[in-house]
């Protein structure tokens, strides 16, 4: 059969940046489904719209999540993508692979599906993009036999993810990879069997640079920080100075103006009490400045994208927590939050929206957290102060 022409997609094979169309064509030679996938996409380019429908309920035995059902609305014309489901595979923390592990994943996916992947989907899973209902269970069986498991989807715990952390970063304030793996293993049931009001995402960055953007992408954002003083290596300050680094210029951008450079002595002085641990000076002078020694994390809650009530950035709920295996304090808090949210939330209400509806005051009290000035930008300006019954005299 003569191949269909795809003049629109062909234009996306030009240009310097790698072409996703060429990636698909590599598989189309072997997989009729990818040939159909390309033709369907060409049709979308002609029609300026999607040709996929809502997913039905498809999955693998024992799990409620991990598979996204997808059907084309032009299934009769493009029968090989009539069913074209996605499997989300939970990646190793930090997305490190031995080539042996990566090749296994490739072989399984070439055997059971399209051979098209995203090695980092929006939540951090490996996305195996496109297979039929009938292939789902055999694919999962092979994945499982080779040490892989599915990630989360639907109203469950989504696959936690973490920055590269201590594996390759001198700023890491705790072991983000171990914590990510620990939580993932501890909460396998929550991850695989949706039973909550809506999704719950956990993202872990080991310092305030927040390389996985956890503050914007997670219901619970765990962001490394420290409490004591920035460590200064004055010899390295001199080395930077002698190499012509504009130390004064860099330090001028300190948001609290608490760090200064003595041009004569070629030394950096920090008023640590006024440092807000933003990382700027450490990022720019990594040989001379290092995060402190008393390390842990700030725990923030409520982050989400716009649907429904607007996007939220996560809010501070614990300014500082030590994070060492087995992370009991964190898990205890997490479970109290889940219980509270599960009990009070409406269908499809994220935990941040529930806190907005009920009030931070109620949230803090009911999950047992102490208010702290570090939780707010400003205190209340309005006089509508709520009191607990025991705080006012009861006249009856």
């Amino acid at each position: 059969m003569a191949k269909k022409k795809r003049p629109l997609l062909d234009q996306l094979k030009e240009g310097k940046y790698p072409s996703f169309v060429k990636e698909m064509e590599k598989m189309a030679e072997k997989k009729p489904a990818v040939e159909d996938h390309l033709n369907l996409l060409e049709r979308s380019y002609e029609d300026k719209t999607v040709h996929w429908k809502h997913g039905g309920i498809v999955g693998v035995r024992g799990y409620g999540g991990g598979v996204i059902g997808r059907y084309s609305d032009l299934g009769d014309e493009f029968p090989n993508v009539k069913e074209f489901h996605t499997m989300r595979v939970n990646q190793p923390s930090g997305w490190f692979y031995s080539t042996e592990t990566l090749r296994k994943l490739c072989d399984i996916w070439e055997k059971h599906g399209s051979g098209i992947t995203n090695m980092h989907g929006a939540t951090g899973d490996a996305i195996l993009l496109g297979t039929t209902t009938e292939h789902l269970q055999p694919c999962f069986d092979d994945l499982s036999a080779n040490g892989f498991d599915l990630g989360g989807s639907g109203s469950d715990l989504r696959t936690p993810s973490a920055c590269v952390g201590p594996a390759r970063c001198e700023h890491a304030c705790f072991d983000s990879l171990d914590l990510c793996n620990h939580l993932t293993q501890e909460y396998q049931d929550e991850l695989h069997r949706p039973m909550w009001p809506y999704k719950f995402k956990i993202k872990i960055s080991a310092c305030p640079n927040d390389c996985v953007s956890s503050i914007a992408r997670a219901d619970m954002s765990i962001i490394g920080t420290w409490r004591d003083e920035i460590r200064v290596d004055q010899d390295m300050v001199k080395e930077y100075a002698n190499n012509g680094k504009d130390i004064e210029g860099i330090l001028a951008s300190c948001p609290t103006d608490c760090i200064s450079y003595d041009t004569e002595k070629k030394e950096i002085n920090i008023d640590n009490e006024n440092c807000v641990r933003c990382m700027h000076c450490i990022n720019k002078l990594p040989k001379a400045l290092r995060v402190g020694k008393e390390k842990g994390a700030t725990i923030l809650l409520g982050g989400k994208a716009p649907i429904v009530q607007s996007a939220f950035l996560s809010w501070v709920i614990v300014p500082f927590m030590k994070l060492e295996s087995p992370y009991d304090e964190l898990k205890d808090l997490l479970e109290r939050i889940w219980d509270w949210w599960d009990e009070h939330a409406k269908v499809r209400e994220r935990v941040g929206e529930l806190i907005y509806r009920k009030g931070m005051r109620v949230f803090l009290k009911e999950v047992g957290l102490e208010p702290d000035a570090r939780m707010v930008k400003y205190p209340r300006a309005n006089p509508y102060i709520f009191w607990w019954p025991e705080e006012v005299q009861q006249n009856d």
């Binding site: 995203n118 090695m119 993932t184 951008s253 990594p286």
Partner: protein
């Protein structure tokens, strides 16, 4: 043979996936340097050196290409590599003398090395027309077109600061792009089309009614369907997510909105949302010329005017939004003024402004 697959085993243990040099120096890194664009050097307490070569990828990868990456990792990196949250592939080398050979081999096949330090980071994006059911715009095609145009900014690292551009194909924002230096967002602009028959068959009416953030949806008991108050609907598509009978896609009216100035890092200033710069650009497959041009203008404006170290939003905050719209030659319209539930704190209550 019917073996029952084991469930709940979790992901492969990360420790088993790490190269020797990382196992040996886990948590013992001292500092890092930018060797050149796309190449990082990390030095451990004991003096060990690890080199990272970062390669940009279009997110959608065939297993053929993944196997080729594995071959390269075997040849140059003792058999290990990693992926990043911005769809890069990172090759991890211990032998500095192999870096240039690796880069040459990768680039000969058309894969760019870059995206470190003060560069344009690899664009992140969602599925778009490739595989999403509610996309207002394609994702891969726009990203490819923008990256082709801004390619040189990925390959050099002398921008004022890092530059993160992200794309989400609808308001669901699987990619959470709302805190990016430049966010490309697919938007719908018309009310969902009610297919009464499908609504009555496939949807739970109370759920559909409850899904609407503005209360625009009412039950229509006669047809076992719903009605939508056109004045209240803000085209968020949340109802379509719970009910396939309320199709929100509209090829004539869907398109791109561009937001600027967001960030998530705490360095210097805190995390912040991106704000609307351009309310609408029509879908122009296959190369989205107007979108590409608009983004180039936004990038060049910042490159020319920001001070060293200033992220996009930090630059705008310093000069003021009114100046930004002037300098960018962008009209400021009623679309730019928030009218949703958290709008009031975005209004200005001071006589301080610029002309």
């Amino acid at each position: 043979m019917t073996n029952v697959a084991k469930t709940d085993i979790g992901p492969p243990l990360y420790k088993d996936q790490l190269p020797e040099i990382i196992k040996n120096n886990y948590g013992q890194w001292k500092y890092h340097e930018h060797v050149k664009p796309g190449v990082l050097k990390h030095v451990a307490e004991n003096g060990d050196e690890l080199y990272t070569v970062r390669v940009g990828s279009p997110r959608l990868l065939s297993v053929e290409t993944l196997r080729w990456f594995a071959d390269l990792a075997d040849k140059y990196c003792d058999g290990h590599l990693r992926f990043t949250s911005r769809h890069n592939v990172e090759f991890l080398l211990t032998d500095a003398s192999k870096i240039d050979a690796l880069i040459e081999e990768v680039e000969a096949e058309g894969w760019p090395v870059g995206g470190t330090g003060n560069s344009l980071k690899n664009l992140i994006h969602t599925q778009g027309w490739i595989h999403c059911h509610s996309a207002a715009i394609d994702a891969s095609g726009i990203v490819k077109s923008v990256m082709d145009d801004l390619y040189d900014y990925f390959k050099k690292d002398d921008l004022p600061a890092k530059l993160k551009i992200s794309l989400a194909c609808c308001l669901n924002m699987c990619g959470a792009v709302h805190c990016s230096d430049i966010a490309i967002l697919g938007i719908h602009r018309t009310v969902p089309k009610i297919n009464d028959e499908e609504v009555s068959k496939a949807c739970e009416i109370p759920n559909v009614v409850a899904s609407c953030p503005t209360g625009a949806i009412r039950p229509n008991p006669k047809k076992k369907s719903v009605t939508i108050n056109e004045e209240k609907c803000m085209y968020c598509g949340n109802c379509f997510t719970v009910c396939p009978g309320l199709k929100i896609m509209d090829p004539d009216n869907d398109g791109v909105a561009i937001f600027v100035g967001g960030k998530t890092s705490n360095a210097r200033s805190g995390p912040r949302f991106s704000r609307l710069a351009i309310p609408f650009i029509p879908n122009e497959p296959p190369r989205w010329d107007s979108t590409v041009k608009a983004i180039r203008n936004l990038v060049e404006l910042w490159v020319e005017n920001a001070r060293p170290g200033e992220r996009y939003g930090e630059w705008i905050e310093r000069i003021g939004w009114e100046k930004f719209f002037d300098m960018a030659g962008l009209p400021f319209t009623d679309k730019h003024i928030d009218d949703f539930i958290f709008s009031v704190p975005t209004f200005r209550s001071t006589t301080q402004f610029k002309y």
